[in-house]
Symmetry: C2
DNA sequence: AAACTAGGTTACTTAATAGTTACTAGGATA
DNA sequence: TATCCTAGTAACTATTAAGTAACCTAGTTT
């Protein structure tokens, strides 16, 4: 939380999960912890620059954890943090609505 | 629905409510139907151009209704459509998370 | 010794998003 | 008759987000 001055509370949500990629990333991470390269494969359109950038922001906002294995070549795993877990129902319901929409039920 | 080719269903959700303004607009409309100028007042940062643009897109996606009163000066009211109503739980839960976040419970 | 690896970073370019200003309609009000 | 009102639109500019390509690290395999 930074600006901490919102006209309406949902702005706090958008500050954290807004933008083109974050919900996508989190929807993958809510199922399992994933490596950088796994996320890249799962989200083919994203570039490594954007992926790095978005992961850093999510980490800074306390939503995900970043665990670096001390080995070469590098291995880094990302997972939902405890705070990130509180987003699970948000993500689940967004996913569910997308499914409904695709099946023409919305 | 246009591209209709998603890697993951939540992309269908993001296609409809993604971007900087739509969730904000919808969070206002979920409580009551509103006029253009009321929305503008409720979302002070938005310009009329962006508001118009976002409202048109939401209308084209079938999420909101636009009702024009035949009078001068113009009066136009926006409200959630039936399909828009199916987004209510998504919006509610996003709002709720924002409140939690602001109160340091997330 | 060269090449490969994963997970990046940097500098640069391009595309998308958003803002600004001026303008419109046409009846109601001063 | 001049001005106000709301809900816009149009042309243009600025800002921000995103993409591209090259480079880095340092142990492991060829």
């Amino acid at each position: 939380m930074k600006g901490n001055h919102y006209n309406i509370p949902v702005e706090a949500t958008l500050e954290v999960i807004g933008g083109k990629w974050k919900v996508l990333i989190l929807c993958h991470l809510k199922n399992k912890k994933m490596r950088f390269s796994e996320l890249q494969k799962s989200i083919p359109q994203i570039t490594k620059k954007m992926l790095t950038q978005q992961l850093r922001e999510l980490e800074n906002d306390g939503i995900i954890n970043r665990y670096v294995y001390q080995q070469v070549p590098p291995k880094v795993e990302y997972s939902l943090s405890d705070i990130g877990e509180t987003l699970r129902e948000v993500l689940d319901i967004m996913c569910a609505w997308g499914e409904k929409r695709i099946n023409n039920q919305a």
